[in-house]
């Protein structure tokens, strides 16, 4: 079966989460092939892991002030600031049969596509358990996976650029406490594509697309009408609701 690759597009946080779940439903019911999707978050957003508390992790007033959305993911993992200008996000949604059975092995497989993609930019990187990819000893990509109804859903981000001060301002670190030292500490742990050379976002996307699709039979495609409708429904009735976002 050919993979479906949905090229880089822009979506809001709630719809993005709705699309992932809608596609997972399609794949689990055999209505869609294994799918790779690339997107950017607009407006910029903070996502928290399934087991996190919105109030513990996010400065919601600051989010409102900066017009940054906040959403709970379907996957575990940590709070992430997704800057519209600063990252490329991907989702891989496939039957468990299309990927290694073990959790670590499937992270290694999918993250390997990112590693390959980055290598096309001349960036050497590697998967670092539990769920990161590091380049030059620093995190350049975070990833999160879940499995349900025989389907693996993994999404993650590749940092293209990073505004550490803005990231700290929306995550629960009081703006008054954002010191140069803290920013330096993040700079020492986190890196981004731009640190490795003069690459445009389009260069980065094309390299990632190549990394994700090399050796696969695939078709460039789009969401079906049914998936779009279901994603919209999920965005409205689940991912944008207080009941979902504040459930923990």
């Amino acid at each position: 079966m050919n993979w479906r690759v949905i090229p880089l597009h822009v979506t809001d946080a709630y719809t993005a989460m709705g699309i992932d779940e809608a596609v997972a439903e399609s794949v689990s019911k055999g209505r869609a092939p294994p799918t790779i999707r690339f997107w950017r978050w607009k407006p910029s957003a903070v996502s928290i892991g399934y087991f996190q508390s919105m109030n513990d992790e996010i400065d919601l007033n600051k989010c409102k002030e900066l017009r940054v959305d906040a959403v709970r993911r379907i996957t575990g993992g940590g709070a992430v600031y997704h800057d519209y200008e600063g990252e490329i996000t991907y989702s891989v949604i496939a039957s468990e049969e299309n990927l290694p059975k073990g959790i670590t092995e499937s992270y290694v497989e999918i993250c390997g596509w990112i590693v390959k993609g980055l290598s096309h930019l001349g960036i050497q990187s590697e998967f670092k358990p539990v769920n990161d990819i590091i380049a030059n000893g620093k995190k350049i990509s975070g990833n999160a996976q879940t499995r349900r109804f025989g389907v693996v859903l993994q999404h993650g981000t590749i940092l293209y650029d990073l505004d550490v001060r803005k990231m700290f301002s929306v995550l629960k670190v009081g703006a008054d406490k954002i010191s140069d030292k803290m920013i330096q500490a993040v700079e020492e742990r986190v890196t981004r594509v731009k640190n490795f050379g003069v690459y445009s976002r389009d260069d980065t996307y094309r390299a990632l697309l190549k990394g994700f699709t090399e050796g696969k039979k695939f078709d460039m495609g789009a969401l079906t009408e049914r998936e779009i409708a279901r994603a919209k429904e999920l965005a409205e009735t689940k991912y944008s609701t207080e009941q979902w976002n504040f459930m923990r």
Binding site: G49, Y50, F51, Q52, S53, D56, I74, T75, G76, G77, G78, A79, I103, T104, P129, V130, N131, A144, Q145, T146, R147, R148, R248
Partner: protein
């Protein structure tokens, strides 16, 4: 008594446990950046720890968690039931805050 404890698991993820208890556990919330699927089983784990004696030891807490994990065919990643039990015990011991 309300308490909470958290631990960044070596080589793993962060687990945070909030409790409210007297002789028994009246409220417990487990949060963190770990992975567990199916995710909804976290509610069953928390329920399984309610009404437990607040003086339960780590093994007793772990056994309760493991029973739920086994019943629901759960995969934990970045954390173990022993890790969650240890943090819960710290919270019940008033270890942090």
């Amino acid at each position: 008594m309300k308490n909470k404890a958290s631990e960044k698991i070596a080589g793993g993820k962060l687990v945070r446990v909030e409790v409210d208890f007297s002789d028994k556990v009246d409220f417990i919330k487990i949060t963190g950046d770990f992975f567990m699927h199916p995710e909804t089983v976290i509610d069953d784990i928390e329920k399984s720890l309610l009404s437990m004696s607040a003086s339960s030891n780590e093994n007793e807490i772990k056994d309760r968690i493991d029973r739920v994990l086994n019943q629901n065919n759960v995969t934990l990643y970045g954390v173990t039931s022993a890790d969650i039990a240890r943090v819960a015990k710290t919270a019940l011991s008033g270890g942090q805050q």
